[in-house]
């Protein structure tokens, strides 16, 4: 357990001290959302309709952008070999890294999403649902992403391979996350969608560390 916490704190500290990392991801998130009103026009009715989807898609892309940070640096400098050889089970090491990744990207994304929701004219109730859907759904993004990030370690054109692997797997969180906000805007209440989203995150929590650990082991063989 001490190893788990130590690894979590190390990764978090690295992410926060390399100030470019979190800031860059948040900046990308904001810019991606801001581009849409410029592209489709500023009519509030249209923006309200497509706003939840825009924010969620931007969050997916921002998460994708930050995935290479999970294992790549440790893979390059050999730290990952030590992690795999250490007494900490690789699955737990993956979990610690995912948790740090979520705190450094998913959590900030969810926290600034209310301000972005104002830019696309969502009403307060919908904003609350949007932020909670991001809060519930982003752990799944970090966990699913860790599988793809581990699989693509050392690949040629890694960025392209990573995105083609991970985006199809991101579809369920996207559908239910954006669906929750749309349901609450339509007056149906987003509760069912949020519960399914929570189920997705929990399932990812149960399965993804194993898949990522298997991928890491074969990457270091």
């Amino acid at each position: 357990m001490a190893g788990f916490i130590g690894l979590f704190r190390r990764d978090l500290r690295l992410a926060l001290r390399q100030s470019g990392d979190t800031g860059l991801v948040l900046g990308f998130f904001v810019l991606a959302v801001v581009l849409f009103p410029l592209g489709v026009g500023p009519e509030p009715a249209i923006l309200q309709r497509i706003g939840p989807g825009i924010v969620w898609v931007a969050a997916l892309l921002a998460a994708l952008l930050s995935l290479d940070r999970l294992f790549e640096a440790d893979y390059q400098d050999g730290g990952l070999d030590l992690l795999v050889l250490s007494s900490l089970p690789v699955e737990l090491a993956v979990l610690a890294k995912c948790a740090a990744h979520w705190v450094a990207t998913g959590l900030p994304l969810a926290l600034i999403s209310p301000f972005l929701a104002l830019l696309v004219d969502l009403d307060p109730g919908a904003i609350l649902v949007l932020s909670s859907s991001l809060l519930i759904g982003t752990p799944a993004l970090s966990l699913i992403g860790s599988v793809a990030a581990a699989l693509s370690l050392g690949a040629r054109r890694q960025g392209a391979v990573l995105s083609i692997l991970v985006l199809p797997l991101y579809v369920p969180p996207l559908v239910f996350g954006a669906g929750a906000v749309e349901a609450s805007v339509a007056g149906a209440g987003g509760r069912a969608y949020l519960l399914i989203l929570a189920a997705l995150s929990l399932a990812a929590l149960a399965f993804c560390p194993w898949a990522s650990a298997a991928a890491l082991r074969q990457a270091l063989e």
Binding site: L165, P168, L169
Partner: protein, 258 residues
């Protein structure tokens, strides 16, 4: 059984004999099935002749799903027992699965235009099959992304197993979400709900597609084995391995790692 099958030399010997049989049977069955479904089978009372698209569309969809299942099972065998042929089989089957998925999507789009009045709807079944197509593409991209082919095979195997979650979603999407695509009418409890005059050509086409897949699979696996054999012979003879394309050589494989 697994050990018996694991011998590449034995596989080469058996497949050399089975391949022409399999290929020619596939050709004959496909000709019979095409004639039966495009000429002999009756037009639908509602859809007229457009229903004949079904004889391509439905077997292609079944193949798309079953080939993914095949890739996943072969990947599991390759990961668990380090079966050398299973990895080659998974790798050889994936592009064919992607092709069948594409055929399924394309024929479905052509069929949807006259029947639903649109080329494409974001229906649960259509969307999940599209995701299956992207999963195939991801698998193919990942398998070919490494300088060391065995590395790509292992990474691909793990990805194939992760992607299995999509299969039940595709299969049951028409039951879970009540959408435009019709629910299953052949593989259902209580027997097929499709007339025998259409069911027979449908099954013949499915058999033809499966035989075609099997023949191509053997051919592709044999090609990979021969390629590896040629590589080994070249290495033993002291000749430099065949040069890789320039764009791959220009990039150092991995700076921090030998």
């Amino acid at each position: 059984m697994i050990n018996w099958l694991a011998n590449p030399a034995r596989f080469t010997r058996i497949s050399a004999r089975a391949l022409p049989w399999c290929g020619w049977t596939a050709a004959v069955v496909l000709c019979v099935g095409l004639f039966w479904s495009l000429v002999l089978a009756p037009p639908d009372y509602q859809q007229g002749d457009t229903v004949r698209i079904m004889f391509i569309h439905v077997p292609a969809a079944w193949m798309a799903l079953n080939i993914y299942l095949f890739v996943a099972v072969a990947s599991a065998v390759a990961l668990v027992w380090r079966h050398p042929l299973a990895e080659i089989a998974a790798r050889a089957a994936a592009p064919m699965g992607a092709a069948f998925t594409f055929v399924c999507l394309a024929t479905g789009s052509l069929w949807g235009r006259p029947m639903w009045g649109t080329w494409w709807v974001w229906d649960a079944r259509l969307t999940s099959v599209l995701i299956l197509f992207f999963l195939y593409l991801g698998y193919i991209a990942l398998v070919n992304a490494f300088d060391d082919p065995s590395r790509g095979g292992k990474a691909g195997s793990i990805l194939a197993l992760v992607g299995v979650v999509n299969l039940p979603i595709i299969k049951f999407s028409v039951d879970w979400w009540n959408t435009l695509h019709q629910p299953a009418s052949v593989m259902r409890i209580g027997g097929p709900r499709i007339d025998i005059s259409m069911l027979v050509p449908l099954l013949i086409m499915t058999a033809g597609f499966s035989l075609f897949f099997l023949a191509l699979l053997m051919l592709r696996m044999r090609t990979v084995l021969n390629e590896r054999k040629a590589g080994t012979l070249r290495l033993n003879a002291g000749v430099a391995p065949a040069p890789r394309p320039a764009r791959e050589r220009a990039m150092p494989a991995h700076p921090g790692r030998s």
